[in-house]
């Protein structure tokens, strides 16, 4: 096996429920993701893309098939999270309302095995805040509810800048924010990628965004990956009818979208 493969999935499946109510969330999915790649998983609601993200994070264990991180199965989530981190959709759901933001950014270092010294933590938090264009003094003593959605999403990114993981799994990081903030956040993510050489997995329903950022796109539909390939091929020459549908449903300013 090549050493630069980060995630390797072979025929993984994940089920929820029992008997008649058994639902298949990920069905016989195989893929390899190499080091430094940006991969987007695109699909509509309920297609299983978030479950796939949680499998990559080690939060779910697939019911069948083999899922390897750097050639080994994920045994300890704590070890896994030292290298693999995530950004979620709703930043308000990710921060505790009762603690100040700075405290929580500092607490995030608790997960690292070789925890840096107090001074170094302070310094790294400051650096991370500056990296997302927030002056450390601006959030001093502030609590999550005092900031706007766009600012909170930046705090989530600051956490990633501070921890410097090897792999980032971003589950709909921009679906709650408006277009300007989205462009900003993508800017920061690309900066992160350039600085740390991370592998990024984007989970999104926005194929336009996937096209812009990724090296490879996986299209998911009803628990299966129905198409995978380079963004140019997937968007210009889609093979699967589901991809065609996803592309057609985007309101584009130059194309008729819906009949009035």
């Amino acid at each position: 096996m090549q050493s630069d493969i980060i995630f390797s999935a072979k025929a993984i499946s994940k089920f929820f429920g029992h008997g008649k109510k058994r639902v298949c969330a990920v069905n016989d999915v195989s893929f390899d993701i190499t080091d430094g790649e940006i991969v987007s998983v695109v699909g509509g609601s309920g297609c299983g893309k978030s479950v796939l993200a949680k499998i990559m994070l080690g939060l779910y264990v697939p019911d069948s098939g083999s899922f390897l991180y750097k050639g080994k199965p994920i045994t300890s989530t704590l070890d896994h999270w030292n290298e693999v981190q995530s950004v979620f959709q709703d930043p308000f759901g990710c921060f505790n309302q009762f603690f100040s933001i700075r405290t929580q950014l500092k607490d995030a270092f608790g997960i690292l095995k070789n925890k840096p010294s107090k001074q170094e933590i302070d310094q790294r938090v400051d650096e991370a805040l500056l990296a997302v264009n927030v002056k450390p003094a601006d959030i001093e003593g502030k609590y999550p509810f005092e900031l706007s959605g766009g600012q909170m999403q930046r705090m989530l990114l600051a956490r990633i800048f501070a921890l410097k993981p090897k792999v980032l799994i971003a589950d709909e990081p921009t679906s709650m924010v408006d277009a300007c903030v989205r462009a900003n956040i993508l800017d920061y993510l690309m900066k992160l990628k350039a600085e740390l050489g991370m592998t990024i997995i984007f989970v999104t329903h926005d194929i336009g965004l996937a096209y812009y950022v990724s090296d490879r796109i996986f299209i998911m539909h009803e628990a299966k990956i129905v198409e995978a390939g380079k963004p140019e091929n997937v968007t210009q020459n889609p093979q699967s009818p589901h991809t065609v549908r996803l592309l057609e449903d985007i309101p584009d300013i130059n194309r008729e979208w819906i009949k009035k």
Partner: protein, 326 residues
């Protein structure tokens, strides 16, 4: 033809517990004819949702009207008590489709009971009994081409996101309102479901359930297809107002240009284009603002922009709040 909705220099403010005044909406004026769809776009916190409350005449503390007037069919909605508004205006004259369908529906009650409550609260004078209300609900939901029995007898959690949003639209338009205000009805949905929901809205328009709509979103490409006219809002003011083709394809205000530049698309020629970003944040609305509100972030700002307050002026058939737009 008379205007169905007339907004004259509407300003709204919030009053905080500490007596601080936040001017969320400043001098908004526009009129709408029967059958018109107006799109309002702008970033989070620019006053879109506050404006919606103002247009419904719903002034619940800490929101207060500062000045101006809102007229629906010539009838003013200002300075009326909330009870009067609920009985005589909401759902019948002006109705809102809320943003998060899941938050708008009571999780402990079935869709039919939620709908019955809405009808009972807003049409007290009609004195309908429960059976009549259910009958009307069935009729209306059959029109949508949805599985009426399944949806009416389900709890919100048993429905998909698309079904929930369509139920909410159905409930909001039960009493054939004159003006419907849709506050980001599709921003929580994926593109496929979004299209289904928009189709339903067009279906209702075609069946004359309602004819005049204000559609609020931050997705400009979506407005291009939905709205006849588009207004762009920034820091509580309208900065550009024109037809959807004018605003989307040929924006003139620097803020509208930046918004359009920030859009991502799956088109071939877009791959190497860098989406524009606007650094900084909108000005604080609790202080009096001198000069143009966008000057701090504007790429083409001039020194005089920071002193001189800009007003709306005509530029090639649309209104723009910038003295230097061409």
């Amino acid at each position: 033809m008379a205007h169905i909705l007339e907004v004259k220099d509407l300003s709204l403010h919030y009053l905080t517990r500490f007596g601080q005044k936040i001017n969320a909406v400043t001098d908004v004026s526009f009129t709408m004819k029967q059958g018109e769809i107006l799109g309002i776009a702008g970033e989070s916190g620019c006053g879109k949702s506050t404006l919606v409350n103002g247009l419904m005449g719903l002034f619940i503390s800490p929101l207060y009207p500062t000045s101006g007037d809102v007229l629906v069919n010539g009838e003013s909605l200002m300075n009326r008590n909330p009870d009067d508004i609920r009985r005589n205006v909401l759902s019948q004259k002006v109705s809102m489709i809320p943003q998060g369908a899941f938050n708008a529906l009571n999780p402990t009650r079935k869709i039919k009971d939620i709908a019955a409550d809405v009808m009972a609260a807003h049409s007290e004078n009609q004195k309908l009994n429960k059976q009549q209300i259910y009958e009307r609900l069935r009729e209306r939901f059959d029109l949508f081409g949805m599985e009426t029995e399944h949806i009416l007898n389900s709890f919100p959690i048993q429905l998909t996101a698309g079904e929930r949003q369509r139920s909410v639209i159905g409930i909001s338009t039960l009493l054939n309102p004159k003006v419907v205000i849709a506050d980001e009805p599709t921003s929580a949905l994926d593109v496929t479901t979004q299209k289904v929901v928009i189709k339903m809205i067009f279906d209702l328009l075609e069946k004359n359930i309602f004819s005049t709509m204000i559609f609020i979103t931050h997705e400009l490409p979506l407005l291009r297809h939905v709205a006849h006219n588009i207004a762009i809002m920034y820091a509580g003011e309208f900065v550009e107002y024109g037809t959807s083709v004018q605003v989307v394809h040929d924006p003139r205000h620097p803020y509208t240009k930046a918004l359009m530049g920030a859009m991502l698309s799956a088109d071939a020629d877009q791959k190497n284009r860098k989406p524009t970003t606007i650094e900084g944040a909108p000005p604080s609305l609790s202080k009096k603002i001198e000069g143009c509100r966008f000057a701090e972030r504007c790429p083409s700002a001039r020194p005089e922009c920071r002193q001189k307050t800009q007003s709306m002026r005509m530029v090639e058939g649309r209104l723009v709040r910038c003295d230097y737009a061409e």
